[in-house]
């Protein structure tokens, strides 16, 4: 029966049908739903790992045990897991292993726009790239066949528009697959002597895969009415090309992006008058074509920045595109904001008020950078707040008090903040780390993590005690504050900054969007008492505005957190 499926849901369906029975991932937009959907199948064991490296190594362990396994992550997550990636390329697999990676062209929800296709070539691992949900199912299953046939992990490359688009699929049945484990030190112990023998195996594997890529139907030739132009493309760029030109020109659609066929591409190039490569981000296919001695239209016309669209492809190739009517009006931007009742708001207000330098991290709290709070100084990657803070305060040691803190969420702290804290403790920097413990992984849509006491399947699980963990790595000053209480929060920040040793403040209150969180209900404004001082506006709270010079609360939004009331000197709130 035909169904509409999100690309990520379709990957999960592919995992199910392929007989995958082990999934370990770390959430990251736009990859998260693959693992969430996989967890709904009773036949698949699925878990959230603390980070992508752990997830990949766990998935490798499961494949070594003979099961078909999967790990999923966003593009930057693959950087975290790059260490095992490059070496499991050498060991190969036992049961099939597929690694899902989702790029984010246009950076809808990411800190950079890296092109993960480079990893396939660099690690010498084949990469498939589906262009819609039906292909997401088919390619996921194909990836396992390739993995076991060629003894290699396989990368499955998604992107935002494939991951988060629904299209029509026809689900199939599950086929159970597993192998037994046999000890094989030469293959699985990658010490130099063995690894030297494995590297030629990897090169030979790539050669065999290349040969296979020449005939694989996923690298598909679509005929056109005219050979004046011909496109080589893949993924979502393929959809834009077809939307723009229909069947007018022939298209070579690549489903396998590494290794890329040679003969197929050369034959195609010879059949058209003008060869055009359309690909988002870097010139990956184009460079391959150039290495083959071709001279396609590519990044000289199409930008390496941002997403494409059907009109963009048409326009850059000199075609007319439809026009709409923009209003001649200044339309204010609507940036994402911290939610009403967000526990991070009180903390960021405190940091901004005291003019503290703040090393930020990845999560909802990156929104602390948005005016009027504008509390952050830097955001790089998962965990960089803690280690960056250590370097910052060490560099300024002995000079005037730098008043610098790092802020990091509970999930991000477990991902890679703890190692930075070990460094701050071991190398004795005067760092003040604030863990924003909202008891959930917020930004990606409420995933459990090792501190929440629940696992991915919603079952009770062991919970890491953050206070004890911080003490165990040698931090003596560990305290917990409620960020709704501005006085308590400010005292803690001032005292810990003044202390001559590393310290941790756990700013603890569950995310306001969690279902179990009870709210007090909207705050009332006493307009008689309101003096229009706008002190309550300093926190950038979406539920407060000024109407006729008086504070006004939006009752549909206000949760009654009471942070604004603490700012009012006149008792109007």
């Amino acid at each position: 029966m035909k169904k509409l499926m999100l690309g990520n849901e379709a990957v999960a369906r592919g995992l199910f049908e392929a007989g995958c029975s082990f999934v370990s991932s770390y959430p990251g937009t736009p990859s998260t739903e693959i693992t969430e959907c996989a967890a709904r199948y009773a036949e698949i064991y699925a878990e959230w790992a603390p980070n992508e490296k752990v997830a990949m190594e766990s998935a490798f362990g499961a494949c070594l045990a003979g099961k078909r396994s999967f790990c999923g992550m966003k593009h930057v997550g693959l950087n975290v897991a790059a260490d095992p990636l490059f070496t499991i390329a050498y060991t190969g697999v036992n049961g099939g292993m597929v690694i899902g990676v989702a790029d984010d062209p246009g950076m809808h929800s990411s800190q950079n726009e890296q092109d993960s296709r480079h990893y396939a070539r660099a690690a010498k691992i084949p990469m498939l790239e589906p262009a819609d949900s039906a292909e997401a199912i088919a390619f996921t299953k194909e990836a396992y066949e390739i993995s076991e046939r060629f003894d290699t992990p396989v990368l499955l490359k998604m992107c935002t528009r494939v991951s988060h688009s629904q299209s029509v699929v026809e689900p199939g049945e599950r086929v159970e697959k597993s192998r037994s484990y046999e000890k094989n030190p030469q293959k699985y112990i990658m010490m130099p002597g063995n690894a030297k023998r494995r590297h030629p195996v990897v090169e030979e594997r790539t050669r065999a895969l290349l040969e296979w890529a020449e005939t694989w139907e996923g690298n598909r030739l679509e005929a056109g009415e005219s050979n004046d132009m011909g496109f080589i493309t893949s993924s979502t760029s393929y959809q834009y090309v077809k939307e723009a030109f229909g069947d007018r020109y022939p298209v070579l659609k690549l489903g396998m992006i590494w290794p890329m066929p040679k003969k197929k591409i050369l034959d195609f190039a010879a059949s058209v008058k003008k060869l055009v490569v359309v690909e988002e981000l870097d010139s990956f296919i184009e460079e391959h074509a150039r290495n083959l001695g071709l001279d396609p239209v590519g990044k000289d016309v199409f930008s390496p920045i941002g997403e494409f669209s059907q009109n963009l492809v048409k326009e850059l190739l000199g075609e007319e595109v439809p026009q709409g009517k923009a209003l001649e009006e200044n339309i204010p931007q609507r940036p994402p904001v911290m939610c009403a009742g967000c526990p991070h708001r009180g903390l960021f207000y405190t940091l901004a008020k005291n003019k503290i330098t703040v090393m930020g991290d990845i999560g909802c709290y990156t929104l602390g950078a948005v005016p009027p709070l504008a509390a952050l100084d830097t955001t790089i990657c998962m965990g960089a707040s803690v280690s960056g803070l250590h370097g910052f305060v060490k560099a300024l040691e002995g000079s005037a008090d730098s008043k610098t803190v790092g802020v990091i969420g509970d999930s991000t702290f477990m991902h890679s903040g703890i190692t930075g804290l070990v460094n701050a403790s071991y190398n004795a920097s005067n760092a003040t780390v604030i863990i924003l413990d909202n008891s959930i992984t917020g930004m990606t849509g409420h995933q459990q993590n090792p501190t929440t006491g629940m696992n991915l399947k919603g079952e009770p699980a062991a919970a890491v005690n953050l206070e004890e963990l911080c003490r165990a790595v040698g931090i003596r000053r560990v305290r917990v504050v409620d960020p709704y209480d501005l006085k308590e929060t400010e005292e803690a920040v001032k005292e810990e900054l003044a202390a001559a040793e590393p310290s941790v403040i756990i700013s603890r209150r569950p995310c306001a969007l969690l279902k179990y969180v009870k709210h007090r209900g909207p705050i009332a404004v006493d307009t008689e008492k309101c003096r229009s001082c706008k002190a309550c506006m300093k926190i950038g709270y979406p539920a407060i505005s000024m109407e006729n010079g008086k504070a006004k609360i939006d009752n549909t939004l206000c949760t009654g957190c009471g942070v604004c009331a603490q700012l009012c000197k006149f008792g109007a709130l």
Binding site: L4, H164, Q239, E243, K325, R334, P335, G445
Partner: protein, 190 residues
């Protein structure tokens, strides 16, 4: 059939994902090729969000480009004004007249433009405006504003009331079904 394009725009958290899910279910019953493109992650935190729904004999691109939308369904007035350029000549905007101030307006860094409905109409753009929020509240919950909007949109398509209600049944939890049916019918009659 030539591809039809519907854009659903609004403010993160208003329920546009459910509206697109409902449309998808409905369109699937007629055997169309369909693509629905959503936005997840950071943009959902109260930011401007857009969902694309495309259907026809064969749909390639998951997104709708400038000048391509047959309909723009907007959960909020300013968001309707933001996306007019995506409307096809002769296309229609169905808008909930609710006004939600974006943060730059709340903190006084920008102004919410006045008389937007008038301005959109005088630009020669087909605009169907109504108070979907009140209808949703009347049906029992402000959260049903998405379904009230779908009710209004339904007037422009040849699907029967029964087909729509059936798709709603498949898209919302049982305990909210009556409320949503009511919101849909109020929107359809508006």
């Amino acid at each position: 059939m030539k591809t039809q394009n519907i854009m659903i725009v609004g403010v993160g958290g208003q329920g546009s994902l459910l509206a697109s899910k409902l449309l998808g279910r409905l369109l699937l019953t007629r055997g169309y090729d369909i693509k629905v493109s959503e936005v997840h992650g950071m943009s959902q935190r109260g930011g401007s969000v857009v969902t694309y729904v495309r259907f026809g004999d064969k749909v390639y691109s998951p997104i709708i480009d400038k000048g391509e939308a047959d309909f723009i369904v907007s959960f909020e007035l300013l968001e309707a004004a933001r996306w007019t350029e995506y409307l096809k000549p002769g296309g229609k905007i169905v808008v909930n007249t609710q006004r939600i101030n974006p943060l730059p307006v709340i903190i006084g860094a920008a102004e919410y433009p006045e008389n937007l409905e008038e301005k959109i109409r005088s630009a020669g753009i087909g605009l169907e405006s109504f108070d979907a929020l009140s209808l949703a509240e009347k049906a029992g919950s402000a959260k049903a504003v998405n379904i009230a909007l779908m009710g209004r949109l339904s007037k422009f398509f040849d699907f029967s009331e029964e087909e729509w209600l059936c798709a709603i049944k498949e898209s919302v939890p049982e305990k909210f079904l009556e409320l949503n049916k009511k919101a849909f019918l109020l929107g359809r009659q508006a």
